[in-house]
């Protein structure tokens, strides 16, 4: 791997096109018979590299299902989805696991850190499933922690960190594998407003360094940090607005 002038790694083995995410007529239903719920109803969407997109909607609008699709955690019942040139709909479980490891970085509302492990160990975790294994896992994890401003908390355990710091560790973990796409599911949902601001500012900063971010939230204020806001209702995209970057 090489790095461009902004210090952002660029994969040399794949043609770098602007298009990162493309979904066509995506359908996902839950339940059977009369109680069928269409979680995704004919969703067609494209997202380019470098975008910061917020998907907003009430609970049950289908935004979480969309995130699971984009992250390769779930498969659509109809339509197709391609991320970084890889079509996910017909991928095997095994290939999907590899895809998630290589291409996606997840940030969750509840941080999902291993409570008894150090920040470094937590950040290093995705490297454990990288094939082939890399020799500089610790160094990468350390750099990733520095990138989120926790270079001095490497050996702290999650219980010794504040909520905001824990979410930063989780973001470092998402970044350590140099993913194409950062998927953040309500990343500030468990944080107070002041901490939320600093976490969102970190995401904006990362986006400016070239990382594509898709953020799922029900909070309009949080969505305002993004360049583009997609609103969902009843499994459909009802609005797709590009907005100016906030100063």
């Amino acid at each position: 791997m090489a790095a461009d002038q902004a210090g952002v790694p660029v994969r040399e083995d794949k043609p770098v096109s602007a298009l990162l995410i493309e979904t066509r007529n995506l359908v996902k239903t839950y339940g059977r018979g009369s109680s069928v719920i269409k979680a995704l109803d004919d969703v067609t969407l494209t997202i380019d590299r470098g975008e910061f997109v917020a998907v907003i909607g009430a609970s049950g609008s289908g935004k979480s299902t969309l995130m699971n699709m984009l992250g390769g955690l779930d498969k659509p019942d109809g339509g197709d989805i391609a991320i970084a040139g890889q079509s996910l709909a017909r991928m095997s479980k095994r290939a999907l696991a590899y895809f998630r490891n290589e291409t996606i970085g997840f940030v969750f509302q509840q941080f999902q850190l291993l409570p008894k492990k150090s920040a470094l160990t937590n950040v290093r975790l995705p490297m454990q499933y990288r094939r082939p294994r890399l020799d500089d896992e610790n160094e990468r994890a350390r750099q990733s922690l520095e990138r989120v401003g926790l270079g001095d908390r490497v050996h702290h355990k999650p219980t010794q960190l504040s909520g905001g710091q824990q979410q930063r560790v989780a973001i470092a973990r998402a970044l350590v594998g140099e993913p194409e796409l950062l998927l953040a599911d309500e990343p500030t949902g468990a944080l107070d407003s002041k901490t939320s601001t600093s976490v969102m500012e970190l995401l904006v900063q990362l986006n400016r360094q070239g990382i594509t971010i898709v953020l799922i939230t029900h909070d309009k204020e949080v969505a305002d940090y993004a360049d583009r806001v997609i609103t969902m209702r009843d499994g459909k995209i009802v609005e797709d607005v590009r907005q100016g970057v906030l100063a």
Partner: protein
Amino acid sequence: MRIPGLTTLTLASGSLLERPFRTVLTMLGIVIGVAAVFAMLSIGEGSRQKILENIDSVEARTISIFPNWNNGRASARRAWRPFTEQDVLDIQAIPGVEAATGDLSQEYSIVSETSDWRANVIGADPQYLAANDLQMQRGRPITQTEIERRETVAVIGTSVVRSLFRGQDPMGERIKIQNIPFEIIGIVDETEGTNWRGQDQNNFVLVPRPTGRARLFGDDRLVRNQVRSIRIVGATQEDLARIEREVDFIMRRSRGLTADEAPDFRIFNFSANRQAVAETQRTLSLLLATMGAVSLIVGGVGVMNIMLVSVTERTREIGLRMAIGARGSDILSQFLTEALLLSIISGLLGLGLGYAVSQVSLGTDEIEMVFSPNIAILSFGSALLVGVVFGFLPAQRASQLNPIEALRHE
């Protein structure tokens, strides 16, 4: 350089160490199971070898008869009656009897020119050596003539040689028993170990029985021609049952007992005794096998239970690992390794416990244990098998979790 599987191993041991108390409790069942299996196999092997090694030995062909002291109905009427020299001769005449000898002995102080030593003085007859599976080391045995003439000659055991003569040649020397001088004419070859009473088997002086009876054994109950017990060796083991019946017949006739009267003597068949011991060992083995199997199953269920709890507790962790790229097989091997590691440690502890227990039980004569690498491998293998069998279900369950639901798990 990366060692394959090291991460999985580190992961598994880390998770076991996070909950040490639970881990120890979980291991207990398997530890006991392996120890029981180990002990069972060792005892089984012990009894098998015991039967094998004794099948042709003199001991396996030996019958002993003793008078009933005071616990039989017949002897309640009279004081115990010893056997006679005539009984010994009659038994020697039974077809298939290789040797038979009467026992008459007592412990005395044996005095040489320079020192003294306590030893068992035995009144021997010509068949004494054969009946006790003894060989001469030097010199010659006591002859029939010497017995008839009540000569004061002695054949001594190696412990007497060592203790009384300390490197000097005892042949032809004189020793005094009860102030009566005896000439040493031979030395009996050393036999191993101690007898059933724990006495040194080589610490004896053989003298002609009539000499001993006339000049040493001043026990007034043992007049003229009497012996305390008789030891009989059959030529083959197959003949022993018949010889035993004939001995019973001869003794009843000699003591004026009818066939249906309770005897005032007891017949001990060493071989039957040995077989009874072997039988006991087999029963013990079976008991231990059952205990081992039950313990291993209970231990296995314990492992499965704790692994299921662990999977449930760590559902979110599993979900996270899957989200960041763990394949089902990664999760499977993580939990299977954990179960296996539990079993391996338990297996090793079980072997240790089994060995420790067997060291304690080796102090008793009743149980014989034989160790072999195969037994250790087999017992250890049973622990591994339990780990794989009972660890598989929880591990598989973990590997098939849906990451989305697992991440939402509270």
